[in-house]
Amino acid sequence: MSVSPSFTDTELFDALRGGESTALDELFRRYYASLCRTSIRLVQDSAAAEDIVQDFFALMWTKRKSLPADTTSVGPYLRTAVRNRSLNYLRDQKRIPVGDGELPETAADQSLQPGAALENEELQQRINDAIDRLPERCRLVFVMSKLEEMSNREIAEGLGISVKTVENQMTRAYKFLRHYLAGFLTLIYLLHG
């Protein structure tokens, strides 16, 4: 048996459980880039992110018989696994922050002009910069909440902090980003929308 591009994720997952190695390759091609992005948002290191994702696929192959059967949500399954492994990596590296950290002094990105039209690439870079400027605990909470769509409880458990701290960190993050990216008039709407 071999897989074809028309296979659904669920069919690929079943084929993988049955020992079909080409199913692993196809899943890898479909999900590698997006899973690496999930990981790099947390670990901030491309080599570590790719390592984490490849390691997970290698594990899926060796433990293929114990993968969940009839999973209709392959994407979320993979994403959750990579997210947890990324957090474990941070923990192993002793990079889970123990304090809140200080927000940088810079109140706003001075080069931003209100209403100025930015090219997509530049916009992308500015968003990356803005979020990277957050203190690490604040950044992780923000990424896990807004990008990984984790609940406050999940985040609190993942980082070993209280739900109250998660809420406080989200408030700080919004406040900082709102100031830093003040040039984007629509930001507040988008953040809350």
């Binding site: 890898f28 490849q54 696929f57 290698a58 992308q124 968003i127 990356n128 979020i131």
Partner: protein, 277 residues
């Protein structure tokens, strides 16, 4: 809008897949490589057959042997994505458990052309038992014979480790190490040691004696002078043919010589004639 955070990060999926294959057990590698690499291409010089020939896994410490016994050229992809072309009668081996972990160590018998995937953290090491070529990402030709190692680099640079010292070899350079002899390190602007693969020989006022060594080095072709009366003339120009013996005849003709095959293996020839140059 903030959801675009890091959306610009685009890892190389195919490179990642190759690295994944290198992590997974060798049994898995054999499965995919058999199905994936079988195909034919038309090359400029000759139809080059791409194949995976002779993969053997021994018990105990596992060794993968890539061996080309019957094709003019055999092309392989190694688990790290590097490409290797083996000459007929040559073989390459590695340990799948450790290959691409901390380094990429291989043993070569015969002649191969290597196009090495760049990875500065895992050096690519080819040994003939005694000497070793060390690279991180480059393309080079390597010929080994008992006690001999000969490297000619076409791209990048390599380090040849021999008897406790390292010799850096740059692109368009050539190094030969033979046991008990001095290391020869010369310019190789024409890359004539790649000719077994490319079919192309280039000479510029090259003495015929040196020209004949390229036939020997590339194809094991041995030429003898009739009655030991050798001619001395120089050869210039580019020569390309699918048939090596034809190239030899053309070059001989330049010196007014005739060529006679002296065996049935197309490896032994006799040169004779008046030296008219």
């Amino acid at each position: 809008m903030v959801t675009v955070y890091r959306e610009d990060y685009a890892p190389d999926v195919e490179a990642g897949l190759r690295q994944l294959h290198a992590r997974i057990t060798p049994v898995r590698q054999l499965e995919t490589r058999r199905t994936g690499v079988y195909r034919y291409i038309g090359a400029a010089a000759a139809a080059v057959v791409l194949l995976v020939a002779g993969l053997f896994v021994f018990g105990g410490e596992q060794t993968v042997v890539l061996s080309n016994q019957d094709q003019p050229l055999a092309e392989y992809t190694l688990p790290d994505g590097s490409q290797v072309t083996l000459q007929r009668g040559s073989s390459l081996s590695y340990h799948p458990e450790s290959f691409n972990q901390h380094d990429r160590a291989l043993d070569l018998t015969g002649q191969g052309y290597f196009k090495v995937s760049h990875d500065a953290t895992r050096p690519f090491l080819v040994s003939n038992g005694g000497n070793e070529v060390r690279v991180t990402g480059t393309a080079f030709n390597l010929r080994t014979d008992s006690g001999l190692m000969e490297v000619e680099v076409s791209e990048g640079s390599v380090l040849v480790n021999t008897a406790g010292k390292s010799v850096p070899v740059q692109a368009m350079e050539y190094v030969t190490i033979a046991s008990g002899e001095e290391v020869i390190h010369e310019k190789a602007p024409n890359l004539n040691h790649h000719a077994w693969r490319t079919g192309l020989l280039k000479f510029d006022h090259t003495p015929i004696s040196e020209v004949l060594t390229y036939f020997s080095d590339n194809w094991g072709i041995v030429c003898q002078w009739k009655d030991n009366k050798s001619c001395d003339y120089s050869v210039s120009g580019s020569f390309q043919s699918e048939n090596v013996a034809d190239v030899l005849r053309d070059i001989a003709k330049l010196g007014g010589l005739s060529v006679r095959s002296t065996g049935d293996d197309d490896k032994h020839f006799q040169l004779s004639g008046q030296c008219n140059q």
